[in-house]
């Protein structure tokens, strides 16, 4: 299967800010992680992240992030408008 690149904004709640989640992501799934912007304070962490890999691996990685409590949005943030 062909590799693809997907781009997301990740929003980490306060309880997950100290955990090295992107490091874990790169070891748990066969995908390349590439941080393009990041901002962290005591309340929230926000990271723009590019993921490169097989489509199914990216989907599994996103599902894992969501299971942990990370909000995963496409770079457009909201594609669905009123």
């Amino acid at each position: 299967m062909a590799k693809q690149t997907s781009r997301y904004w990740l929003m980490f709640p306060a309880k997950l800010i100290t955990r090295p989640i992107i490091y874990e992501l790169g070891h748990k799934f066969p995908i390349v992680t590439n941080i393009r912007q990041a901002s962290v304070n005591s309340e929230v962490g926000i990271v723009s992240l590019e993921l490169e890999g097989e489509r199914e691996d990216i989907k599994a990685a996103v599902a894992w992030l969501e299971e942990l409590g990370v909000k995963v949005e496409p770079v457009e943030i909201n594609t669905i408008e009123s």
Binding site: S6, Q37, P74, N78, E81, S82
Partner: protein, 456 residues
């Protein structure tokens, strides 16, 4: 945040700007014998990198949103109030400020909606100089979305798209479907599968292809992004977003022109993504920059949200641009229920730059706002309009909007679109049999209180 966060704002990346020239497009190009295009490029709102005028919306470097830029010096030399007033009364009379390169081809009748002097509502709110910018009667689908869609589809044609699309739960879907139909463009509307039937009907009737997608909102959102990236469709609110968003400016231009080229001291705008507020701010700035408004006085733009989904007003009240997502919005104002507003960061900055304020209101206050506007001015607004009225009322009561200063309320859509929200709040008709005696008994003193006109 830039939802993305008090993020790294432009200054952090300023050093890149001077190094970026490989993609800088040519500046102004001839438009036609009648008009010129002053649209110069797309530019990242984060780092300032410039991009060619293609169907792209995100900076490849930092994922910042792209925005249309113009040659304002050239516009200033070219434009005049007289030139604008000589044109048909549509949003296209401000075409120099829109990101197209030829003549408009879609939505030629859109815009120039009434600016209503609202004396009766003003009296109820305790203010002297109040106006309603009434996009509830915008053509053809009764919401301000017709403005953004007209620009997006005109640009889609210029870029050679045969198929246009959007992901929407309401007004945007209706507008894309209607405007695409009138332009002869093939269209697809993606919706959550559980959307109410009456909202689907308002798109289906135009012959668009409606695709319902099962699953949680977040997954549907990501799928739409994937589809937009994969196929050669002009997705109005994704790959055409820099063009689409600029259409909102025309609401601001019209307000200024209809006030005889004055910027109102106060403007109240409801916020979903926050884009409309930022574009009205941009419009006010552009009329000053190009000399259409001379000796401007200061103006204030205030943002309004429902309390059940208020990520932007919360950030503004806390004095931060860090916008915390609302994971489960709970409000009857579905059109403003965006928990992660894409332009929230920029909306906060527009309010801060104009010394504006943010306010929110309960669902009960929304209903009260809809009824107040309807009963005093005969304007039936959608729930978002109720938010605007209710929040303006609070801003006046709190002394933020003084009673002797001019105020414009932006009403973005017609009440019939959200009639279910107010259905149980308007009472029931009084019933009577076809008998004059019964009629008089029913109305009783009401008839005595209404003297017959002399001329009758």
């Amino acid at each position: 945040m830039r939802t993305r966060a008090g993020m790294a704002a432009a200054a952090r990346f300023s050093f890149f700007r001077s190094r970026w020239d490989t993609h800088k497009p040519n500046s102004t190009q001839p438009m036609s014998n009648q008009t010129q295009s002053f649209f110069t490029s797309l530019r990242c709102r984060e780092c300032g990198r410039e991009y060619p005028k293609n169907a792209i919306h995100i900076c490849e470097f930092d994922f910042g949103p792209l925005e249309a830029t113009y040659d304002y010096d050239a516009i200033r030399r070219h434009i005049s109030r007289e030139l604008i007033s000589s044109r048909p009364k549509t949003m296209w009379r401000y075409r120099e400020f829109l990101p197209i390169e030829g003549e408009p081809t879609v939505g030629l009748q859109v815009g120039f909606t009434p600016l209503v002097k609202a004396n009766r509502l003003a009296s109820r709110l305790g203010i002297k100089d109040l106006y309603i910018k009434n996009d509830a009667v915008n053509y053809p689908t009764l919401s301000f979305k017709d403005r953004v869609v007209a620009v997006a589809l005109t640009r889609a044609r210029e870029l050679g798209f045969q198929t246009v699309a959007c992901a929407s739960t309401g007004n945007l879907a209706n507008s894309v479907a209607a405007n695409a139909a009138s332009a002869g463009l093939r269209s697809y509307v993606l919706i959550p599968a559980d959307l109410e039937q009456n909202k689907v009907l308002n798109s289906l009737v135009y012959g668009t292809n409606v695709i319902g997608i099962h699953g949680p909102y977040d997954q549907v959102n990501r799928l739409c992004s994937e589809i937009a990236g994969k196929y050669g469709w002009g997705f109005v609110n994704v790959n055409l977003r820099p063009y689409y968003a600029e259409g909102s400016k025309t609401m601001g231009f019209e307000i200024v022109e209809q006030l005889d080229w004055q910027i109102p001291r106060h403007t109240v705008v409801c916020m979903a993504s926050g884009s409309l507020l930022t574009k009205i701010h941009k419009a006010y700035t552009e009329v000053i920059k190009t000399g259409l408004v001379q000796n401007p006085t200061s103006f204030h733009i205030h943002g309004a949200q429902p309390a059940g989904c208020n990520p932007i007003t919360t950030a503004m009240k806390r004095g931060t641009d860090l916008i915390k997502p609302i994971s489960q919005p709970q409000t009857i104002v579905k059109s403003l229920a965006i928990g992660t507003p894409a332009d929230g960061y920029y909306a906060v900055h527009s309010m801060q730059q104009t010394n504006g304020h943010a306010e929110d209101c309960s669902d009960e206050e929304v209903i009260e706002g809809i009824r107040l506007l309807a009963e005093t001015e005969g304007i039936f607004a959608e729930t978002a309009g109720g938010v605007t009225v209710a929040c303006a009322k609070k801003l006046i009561q709190n002394g933020i909007i003084p009673p002797n200063e001019s105020l414009v309320l932006c009403i973005t859509g017609h009440g019939l679109k959200t009639a279910e929200a107010i259905l149980s709040h308007c009472g029931q008709p009084r019933l009577v049999r076809p008998s004059l005696r019964e009629f008089e008994r029913l109305l009783g003193d009401e008839l005595i209180q209404q003297p017959t006109p002399v001329a009758a």
